[in-house]
């Protein structure tokens, strides 16, 4: 039992692969313009949040529709702590505090999060979104009310992740806000992946997986059910807070209406499309859901059946077309490929010859049905 790997992240890369991928991701600012970098930046932020939600939904088997609230706590926490009016803390400190604040908000909800199970938690967390939105509108001395407030740029040791008047040219490419934020996002995403994978393979990660598969069995084996459930919720909120900070920096302005139920549903769509319970899947889903509407808006005039924005009532605009597509993606993926893009990738790779070299650990999960990752596929607790 001791050294069997839990099959969460089958897209695990070897160290050389990881380094190559990281280097590849450092290249875009030198070749792509600000539009593409913004898409990438939003995708990175979404990926951080989605990884957090994936930990909760895929590993702990708890569903949350309150992710928008924790994103808002992170975004507004950073803005309020670092900005004027406010305590005006150093931005780097404000980032850390904002993430902790999101964790604390998750902790406050833990009496509910620890005791309410699975899909019911999803409904209970709806409350957070609506109450949070109300709070953002009401507490206008901190949040700026309906119009929101502008986000102070992040500076780290005199280096600003924004246009700061000083020209910065690297290898002949002028580095504006997008280029600088890209690297920040990349670093934060790297930290997210690293910590999330560590967590999944650690003792608490295994406890959570046991909890998802059977609450009773896990409790009998000595897993403290309530404590692990609320801890998963807190950790997931902290990732959401971090994603919120990055989004705030990318948007440069935070407004309450962004943090609506639709945003929570977007995050749910990301992890479902990507495949529950895997870091790589959550990332793929985040890129899909984030980039699709932006790309469709940009290329609306070249796409069939899609009207350019503002071309009259009743026409299918790019935003709507994107929503149709990903609504359909959720339905189709769940009905025909319940383990998402991640599962599809695994199946395709399984068919390729030469994948099962002796060095790679067995790809098949140990348990009977290959059902692992969804809260969905929890086996019925029942004696045969």
């Amino acid at each position: 039992m001791s050294d069997r790997r839990i099959p969460f992240d089958r897209l695990r890369l070897k160290p050389a692969g990881t380094v190559a991928l990281a280097l590849l991701l450092c290249l875009p600012p030198f070749y792509l313009d600000a539009f593409w970098l913004r898409i990438g930046l939003f995708s990175l932020a979404a990926a951080i949040g989605a990884v957090g939600l994936s930990l909760l939904a895929g590993t702990a088997g708890q569903l949350s529709l309150g992710h928008a609230f924790f994103l808002a706590v992170g975004a507004y926490g950073y803005t309020a702590l670092a900005g004027e009016p406010g305590p005006g803390l150093p931005p780097a400190l404000a980032v850390v505090l904002a993430v902790l604040l999101a964790g604390a908000a998750g902790g406050l909800f833990s009496p509910v999060a620890a005791r309410v199970r699975g899909i019911y938690l999803g409904v209970a967390t709806l409350a957070l979104v609506f109450l949070g939105h109300h709070l953002l509108l009401t507490a206008d001395s901190v949040t700026g009310g309906f119009n929101g407030r502008s986000v102070p740029p992040l500076t780290l040791g005199g280096f600003a992740f924004a246009e700061d008047g000083r020209e910065l040219v690297v290898l002949g490419v002028p580095f504006g806000a997008e280029e600088r934020l890209w690297y920040l996002g990349l670093a934060l995403f790297g930290i997210t992946c690293f910590t999330a994978r560590g967590l999944l393979r650690s003792r608490p990660g295994r406890a959570l997986a046991a909890l998802r598969d059977s609450e009773t069995a896990a409790a009998v084996m000595g897993v403290d059910v309530a404590r692990h459930r609320s801890a998963a919720f807190v950790v997931s909120s902290m990732y959401a807070g971090l994603a919120g900070v990055l989004l705030a920096l990318a948007f440069r302005r935070v407004v309450p209406d962004y943090f609506s139920l639709a945003l929570s549903v977007d995050y749910l769509a990301m992890i479902v499309i990507g495949g529950l319970g895997s870091v790589a899947g959550a990332t793929a889903g985040a890129v899909f859901v984030t980039a699709l509407p932006l790309l469709m808006t940009r290329y609306a005039d070249q796409l069939p059946l899609v009207a350019t924005p503002g071309s009259g009532d009743g026409a299918v605009g790019p935003t709507e077309a994107a929503r149709y597509l990903y609504g359909a993606a959720i339905v189709l993926i769940l009905l025909y490929a319940p383990d998402g893009l991640h599962g599809l990738a695994r199946r395709v790779r399984g068919r390729l010859p030469g994948r099962h070299s002796p060095g790679s650990p067995s790809r098949e999960p140990a348990g009977p049905p290959p059902s692992p990752s969804s809260p969905a596929a929890r086996p019925k607790e029942h004696t045969p």
Partner: protein, 298 residues
């Protein structure tokens, strides 16, 4: 001038409408273990059909057509998405997320059609009011109470006396045993979806009637307020859902009426108070007020 009696009537009307939606959640949940997130867009669909058809068919005809069409749509969704097979408790969670996908699709399409408009449903009550003693109440509110009472009574009678109601209760108790006794689980489930759709379409009329300005694309969001109602009732208990709905409706009406004294909580707190109530109740009773404590066998 508001008075306690007037506020209570408002709350009762609101609660009655929530109860229609919440009962929809409960029947679908009892039949299949699925929480139907598409209920809000089904509601919007029913309201939209009523709004579009009332010029040609008259209000009553349009409403009847909308209720029927929404019921058929809900039933068709169930057949199409979840197949003809027997419901499987293991897939209930997946299906719940599928309903979120369906909600996105339906809602996107309906919002696109409705746009920024306010649609009138052509209901006969208009903005007329009735006087009861010193209190003025909108006729539409009284109609909401009366119609909901009849509809809810009919649903309860259906549960209690019809063969389908018996099958539904049996299936909710133990699916395997029910199936072995000859209950056709697939059919029970499809009928539950139809009923939920019909109730949602009916609720749409009262949510869009005076004093609300009309049907807008956000009307469907109101269905989310019936979630707290159903959860308070423990999700499986129709009387619980009714009680939860009335509690939510009354709280919302009272908070909205005493807005001035509660200004610390911010403007429009009435709109979100159902969620606050839900969180408070879940803190004390995680299974809801009327929910049974689930027993797990290993």
């Amino acid at each position: 001038m508001t008075s306690l009696f007037g506020d209570l009537l408002d709350g009762l009307a609101l609660g009655a409408v929530y109860a229609l939606v919440a009962l929809g959640f409960v029947v679908v949940f009892k039949a299949s273990g699925v929480i139907n997130f598409a209920q809000g867009s089904l509601l919007l669909f029913g309201g939209y059909l009523t709004a579009v058809l009332h010029d040609d068919l008259g209000f009553a005809g349009a409403l009847a057509a909308a209720v029927l069409a929404t019921a058929l749509l809900a039933g068709a969704l169930d057949r199409l998405l979840f197949g003809r097979g027997d419901p499987d408790p293991r897939t209930a969670h997946v299906q719940t997320i599928v309903t979120i996908g369906v909600d996105i699709l339906l809602l996107t399409d309906l919002s696109r059609r409705i746009g920024g408009d306010l649609l009138s449903l052509g209901d006969p009550w208009g903005d007329s009011v009735a006087r009861i003693g010193s209190v003025t109440v909108a006729d539409s509110r009284l109609a909401a109470i009366a119609v909901s009472a009849v509809a809810i009574g009919a649903v309860f009678a259906l549960f209690r006396y019809s063969g389908w109601g018996l099958s539904l209760r049996a299936a909710a108790e133990d699916q395997e045993a029910a199936a072995l006794m000859g209950v056709r689980l697939g059919r029970v489930r499809t009928l539950a979806w139809c009923l939920a759709g019909a109730l949602a379409a009916l609720a749409a009329v009262f949510l869009a009637a005076f004093p609300a300005p009309g049907l807008e694309r956000t009307t469907g969001q109101i269905a989310f307020k019936a979630f707290p109602a159903a959860i308070l009732g423990g999700m499986t208990s129709p009387p619980g859902a009714l009680a939860g709905s009335l509690l939510i409706g009354l709280t919302e009406a009272l908070v909205a009426a005493h807005q001035a004294e509660l200004h610390v909580l911010g403007e429009g707190f009435g709109d979100v108070v159902p969620y606050a109530v839900m969180v408070l109740v879940l803190l004390v009773r995680p299974t809801g007020l009327f929910g049974a404590k689930g027993a797990a066998r290993v």
